[in-house]
């Protein structure tokens, strides 16, 4: 049972939190136990965040190589310019001083300065946050809906025709590199080559010629079609696999036999009894897999020149602009940790069986 999620096909590999929650009602009262649970989760999240913050700092400083040299690689720089850069980024100070500055900066939500844009990283990130949330949110919701629906159909009759077809297609999309799929979509539907007219824009978020709110929204939706399709195609497979195996676990449960004995039709047994129970562990795993959504966003935004955080990350890598990359590293990791915390806190509300 414990090895379940890791064997679901998609390489997730995490257990549902609270799966081993004590069932014994004895001991402290319910409110105390709930408070203890929340406190424990909060402490874990805070600890993880701190670890991310520390790792973000040391990953980019301690590892072999000099940030300034990495930043100026392949460019003509004089020794003075190098010194200037060092001073500007505080690299001439002792490490502990740099670390302290970095920590106090973080408390003020200051993630440092971008070498490439000469702007505070925090501002850059805030500017680009909206488009990324729009793209990732739409993509995840659509992928989750498709994945769960198909997963239910596949998992209810494992080995059946629908299962085999769905699993095969999902596995294929899962094996395809995200960025390549995006490039293919551009060639097929946007470049206007060959027999296909250029149906969709090749990149960007809004047509600069669009005026007025209605036109802007329509143009944005128009620009979103291909990036969202790419994201959905690559990430829906894992939702399908998770839902499928979760439903397969429920299939043999006694309460389903009871439901059938009552004379319920098969579709009703599935919809009212099996799916709600199978959905619960799936919800957590969807949150746990958000890290993959971040990876998807980086690639999709890069391919489609979507003006979001992923593209910012790519442009930071290209220079390389380590201040920017470091800030984004912290932000990406922190957002995934926060989403997981959210999942941990919401899960007991959804599933009374694991309520502390």
């Amino acid at each position: 049972m414990t090895s379940d999620p890791a064997t679901t096909g998609a390489p997730s590999g995490a257990e549902a939190p609270g799966a081993a929650a004590p069932a014994a009602p004895a001991g402290p009262g319910r409110a105390v136990r709930a408070a203890r649970y929340v406190a424990g989760r909060l402490a874990t999240a805070v600890f993880s965040l701190l670890a991310v913050v520390v790792a973000g700092f040391f990953l980019f400083r301690i590892l072999p190589g000099d940030p300034v040299r990495a930043m100026t690689e392949g460019r003509e720089v004089t020794a003075e310019q190098r010194e200037e850069l060092r001073r500007q980024f505080g690299l001439d100070q002792p490490l502990w001083q740099q670390f302290l500055d970095y920590l106090t900066g973080l408390l003020r939500l200051d993630l440092g300065t971008s070498f490439q844009f000469r702007e505070p990283v925090t501002e850059l990130i805030l500017e680009r946050l909206g488009p990324t949330v729009l793209l990732a949110g739409t993509g995840t919701v659509i992928a989750a809906l498709i994945g769960l629906l198909l997963g239910v159909r596949a998992g209810w009759r494992p080995g059946g025709r629908s299962d085999r077809a769905n699993s095969a297609v999902a596995l294929f999309f899962w094996s395809v590199p995200t960025f390549w799929l995006g490039l293919l979509l551009i060639v097929a539907f946007a470049s206007g080559r060959g027999f296909m007219p250029g149906l969709f824009p090749t990149g960007g978020m809004v047509d600069p010629a669009a005026s007025g709110p209605v036109e802007t929204v329509l143009s944005t939706v128009w620009h979103m079609v291909l990036p969202v399709t790419t994201m959905v195609a690559v990430i829906y497979a894992q939702y399908l696999m998770i839902m499928r195996s979760s439903l397969m676990d429920e299939r043999g449960a006694d309460y389903l036999t009871t439901a059938r004995a009552k004379g319920l039709r098969d579709a009703l047994v599935r919809r009212r009894h099996a799916v709600p129970n199978a959905l619960l562990p799936t919800v957590t795993l969807i949150f746990l897999n958000l890290g993959q959504v971040v990876s998807g966003v980086i690639l999709v935004e890069t391919v489609f020149s979507w003006p979001g955080l992923g593209q910012l990350f790519y442009s930071g890598l290209r220079v390389p602009d380590l201040g920017l990359v470091q800030g984004l590293f912290v932000v990406f990791a922190a957002s995934v940790i926060l989403m997981n915390l959210l999942a941990d806190l919401v899960y007991p509300l959804l599933d009374p069986r694991v309520r502390p």
């Binding site: 064997t7 590999g13 600890f47 195996s245 990350f313 990359v325």
Partner: protein, 327 residues
């Protein structure tokens, strides 16, 4: 002793007859026969999975191609200066997949690129599997039978694992690859260091299951130390699960390699599938519609990743009968 020799499961024909025969075979011969029988049963179960067989055949072909690439491809023609054709020649008899922006044959590039892609895939998997198995087994073993200190070590290890599990894999790999010196070794380490947590969790769960079995208690009662129990009792029982996970991880690693190359943190001096794709993009093959530069490398990645995934799932279903599909 006799209990041990009679132990083989019901699926071992002749085992009993041999054990009771007039001239009992040596325990070693029996063990060997038992193992051969288990292997045969395994192969039979695996062969029943058609998708798994397909994956295995495809993989064998690709690995052979990669091994014999030096005989098939003239290496001097892979350099920019030694390119045999004109730039962007469409597919023809001479160049079945056309040429790239330097006039190199794309088919040759892909055949040669399979070497780097497969090597990185395998080695990164080895790194992550070794790391994951070590961490998972240590956490599982000492958590189950290491006293208070063991439990502390175990929970610290699992906290670290969970932390890595939550981090966005690609971001961490890219950050590592960007900070470490450029090279294939860096790519291997960057991928290996980011994909191990899933293996660690899996191995820990399996270790806990094995540790609860009576034969582990017996080994401990007879004076077996931690190292003995882990090496002789836990590891052999964890290996099958690890094997299936390994096969799945190779697919992940190969895709990760291409992704890193595409993001520009790969090794620019070697030819890999991801590198070819990145070159195609920077050369503007997308906007000018040079499909033969872009489709084959991606297809190669997809086919290899799919083959590994099919093999891994087939292995999983053989090892874990609960997953076996009803046909």
């Amino acid at each position: 002793m006799s209990a041990a020799t009679e132990a083989p499961g019901p699926g071992v024909p002749g085992g009993d007859a041999n054990g009771r025969g007039p001239a009992p075979a040596s325990p070693r011969a029996l063990a060997r026969r038992r193992r051969a029988e288990a292997l045969r049963r395994f192969a039979r179960d695996y062969a029943r999975n058609r998708a798994g067989l397909l994956g295995l055949v495809a993989l064998s072909a690709i690995v052979l191609l990669a091994l014999f690439a030096p005989l098939l491809v003239d290496q001097s023609e892979l350099t920019v200066t030694g390119a045999p054709g004109q730039a962007y020649e469409p597919p023809s008899g001479e160049f079945p997949l056309g040429t790239d922006n330097f006039g190199r044959s794309i088919l040759d590039l892909i055949v040669w690129g399979s070497r780097v892609s497969l090597t990185v895939g395998f080695l990164a998997t080895v790194v992550s599997v070794v790391l994951g198995t070590l961490v998972g087994m240590t956490a599982g073993h000492f958590g189950a039978s290491g006293g208070t200190a063991g439990r502390i070590v175990s929970s610290v290890l699992m906290r670290v694992t969970d932390w890595f599990l939550v981090l966005p894999t690609l971001v961490l790999a890219v950050a590592l690859a960007a900070v470490l010196p450029r090279g294939t070794g860096t790519i291997i380490i960057a991928i290996g260091l980011t994909v191990w947590p899933a293996t660690a969790r899996l191995v820990r769960a399996q270790t806990l299951a094995v540790e609860a079995r009576p034969y582990v208690e017996r080994a401990r009662a007879l004076g077996g130390g931690h190292a003995h129990v882990m090496a002789w009792h836990v590891l052999p029982n964890v290996m099958p699960v690890v094997l299936a996970q390994t096969t799945l991880l190779v697919a992940t690693s190969i895709i990760a390699e291409s992704t890193l190359a595409f993001l520009g943190v790969g090794d620019p001096t070697t030819i890999s599938w991801g590198g070819i794709l990145e070159a195609a993009r920077t050369a503007g093959a997308i906007s000018s519609g040079i499909w033969w530069y872009m489709i084959p490398p991606g297809l190669a990645i997809a086919v290899v990743a799919l083959s590994f995934t099919l093999c891994g799932r087939a292995l999983e279903s053989v090892i874990n009968p609960r997953l076996r599909e009803q046909r």
